[in-house]
């Protein structure tokens, strides 16, 4: 069971019911659950969308798009059924927040999905969990079955004339499926390959119908926004960045864990006070602020507020809220290599700049890290990455390129230290090494 952590600076909204047994429907109701849905049934769809817009709730998956705006793009009239899609394919390295929502408060996801359905006039929702989260899928399935048994789902929900159905779905191992159009492909029983946009999902999405797709944390936040009121929620964060978010502190940090902090919370304070600083008296070398696809920040760059706009201004992204802390004993070339190996593994292969780009970056960095690099490799790695940017079908190519460019730019000296056959300056026992296989003559051993 993953450990729960707490800190006095936390403002618990989404995580309010964590560790309180709210996975059981009775307990969830006791803790104020499903009140928000009743409120929405009374108020109607236009009111919900206006509340969501006013709350400044921005997508927690990484892109940070206004949830209310997204919902408002769905056409009122549609010949095809509309759908709500909850993205729980949480796979961005450094991110494990949805894990806790599914574990501790699955009903908040059901509530949020129903509310989204009421807002856009959809009668069916899908909750997609990554395949590795089997035990969480079972918790989610249990919660959905309980909600059906109470009449919260199905025909005439809460005794109204509205219908809403929810289906849970498992993936089978693919980071790319976290991309919204690839997720729809996967849900339709196909390879998780992104679709060209436009048309956007709000117009043509799942099964060709207008579709709202939101991250699981965004959806789980919705009932709380409705219950506390948009103005109160927006007041917690910074301008244009409403409320709180679940920040995951991982890596070289004294107290790793998922903390719910107001948007705009200072990153330096988050690391040194909330997370307790770097273990073993070591020094901070770098911070990846929002999951592995976000450009790395140097220690002198972390005195910033953690919201979409401020982190963007600092040259990185708030992303998924997964803060990965790196100490001074870490080899940044190895770190870059491990990051790019992931993207090379996960590239779906559909478009060439990403498929070839990630593969060549991995090859170059592997050789480089093993001490077989050439001085020109450093610029080549950056050049390759720059040429992937903006030239791929979906953001996976950018997700691989952006951090790579930052690693080279900010840690050039460390790359240079690997040159001229020198072994990695941070080499330690058990570190994976490249075995260089040289061509032999035809003799067979």
């Amino acid at each position: 069971m993953p450990k729960l952590v707490t800190h006095p600076d936390e403002v618990k909204i989404v995580s309010r019911r964590f560790g309180m047994g709210a996975e059981k429907i009775d307990r969830h109701i006791e803790l104020g659950g499903y009140e928000a849905v009743k409120k929405c049934l009374a108020q109607g769809s236009d009111w919900i969308i206006e509340e969501m817009k006013a709350s400044n709730l921005r997508g927690r998956g990484g892109a940070g798009f206004s949830a209310g705006m997204k919902w408002s793009f769905v056409p009122k009239q549609s010949a095809k059924p509309k759908y709500i899609l909850v993205n729980g394919d949480e796979s961005e390295p450094g991110t494990c927040k949805d894990h806790l929502i599914f574990l501790h408060d699955p009903h908040s996801i059901i509530e949020g999905t129903i509310i989204a359905g009421l807002a856009v006039g959809a009668q069916m929702g899908f909750i997609y969990l990554r395949g590795e989260y089997r035990y969480l899928l079972q918790i989610m399935e249990r919660a959905v079955a309980d909600a059906y048994a109470r009449g919260f789902l199905g025909k005439n929900i809460f005794g109204s004339d509205k219908e809403f159905q929810i289906v849970t779905q498992t993936g089978a191992g693919a980071y790319e499926v976290g991309e919204e159009s690839a997720l729809m492909e996967s849900l339709e029983g196909k390879r998780g390959i992104p679709r060209i946009k436009p048309p956007f999902p709000a117009v043509v999405g799942l099964y060709g119908g207008p579709t709202v797709i939101n991250n699981a944390e965004t959806i789980a936040t919705v009932p709380h926004v409705i219950q506390m009121g948009a103005a109160a929620y927006a007041a917690i964060g910074t301008p244009r960045n409403g409320g709180t978010r679940l920040f995951g502190l991982s890596g070289h940090i004294e107290h790793p864990g998922v903390y719910e902090l107001p948007m705009g919370y200072n990153l330096k304070k988050m690391i040194y006070e909330v997370g307790g600083g770097i273990p073993g008296g070591r020094k901070l070398k770098a911070v990846v602020p929002g999951g592995s696809s976000t450009p790395v920040l140097l220690p002198e760059e972390i005195d910033i507020g953690m919201d979409f706009d401020q982190v963007g201004k600092a040259g990185s992204m708030l992303g998924s809220g997964g803060v990965v802390v790196i100490d001074d004993q870490t080899c940044m070339v190895e770190f870059a290599l491990r990051t790019i190996s992931f993207y090379a593994h996960e590239s779906c292969g559909w478009c060439i700049p990403c498929r070839e780009g990630t593969d060549w970056l991995k090859k170059s960095l592997t050789r480089f890290h093993a001490g077989f690099g050439a001085p020109s490799d450093i610029d080549n790695i950056a050049y390759l990455a720059e040429n992937m940017l903006g030239r791929t079908f979906c953001p996976l190519g950018d997700a691989a390129a952006m951090p790579t460019i930052a690693f080279v730019k900010k840690f050039r000296k460390e790359f240079e230290d690997h040159l001229n056959g020198k072994p990695c300056p941070f080499a330690r026992e058990g570190m994976p090494q490249l075995t260089v296989v040289r061509c032999r003559t035809r003799e067979v051993v």
Binding site: S91, C96, G173
Partner: protein, 176 residues
């Protein structure tokens, strides 16, 4: 409902429970094919891997060709076409886990089991796999044994984990 015209040999590929699960699953979606990926995973859980017979059976039940099933199945990293061990040990070595010693944990598993990446022990009890992020970054380093998570591991925890599962195998044998 299973197809009454199906050839008799295909009926034993799925257990009655799995067949029932499939029938319930396809009903849930607006399109039958949406059941494909969960079905492949559930079939793999039961059979151990996606054998040719499983592929044929799933294709028949969904109503698409075997080639289409393979086209989809080869995309997803959790689906496999060869048997794994009874307990498949998946060690995450992605960044958050790496920073907290995942490679040292992985090395220890390699030593204790005597197999490398995607290797299966001679008795078929364990297999080992280096995997990408499993969504347990704040509790790193983490592994999954089949679907069970084990968090905050040290290399010295490895032998303990292995003996837990060995004990499970023993008790299963006794009960059989």
């Amino acid at each position: 409902m299973s197809d009454p015209n199906a050839p008799p040999e295909s009926k034993s590929v799925f257990s009655p429970a799995l067949a029932a699960r499939f029938d319930a699953l396809v009903e849930k979606y607006p399109a039958r094919r949406s059941a494909l990926i969960p079905m492949l995973l559930y079939a793999q859980d039961e059979v151990g891997y996606l054998s040719d017979a499983v592929i044929t059976e799933v294709a028949r039940r969904i109503g698409i060709t075997e080639l289409e099933v393979l086209n989809v199945a080869t995309y997803y990293s959790m689906l496999r076409f060869k048997p794994a061990g009874q307990y498949n040990i998946q060690v995450c070595t992605n960044i958050s886990c790496m920073l907290r010693g995942a490679y040292e944990v992985y090395e220890r598993f390699r030593e204790e089991l005597g197999v490398g990446d995607k290797g299966v022990t001679a008795d078929g009890v364990f297999s080992l796999e280096e995997v990408e992020c499993i969504g347990a970054c704040c509790w790193a380093p983490a592994i999954q044994v089949n679907y069970d998570f084990h968090d905050e591991l040290k290399p010295d925890d490895v032998s303990n984990i292995l003996s837990q599962y060995k004990a499970l195998v023993q008790s299963k044998k006794k009960n059989a």
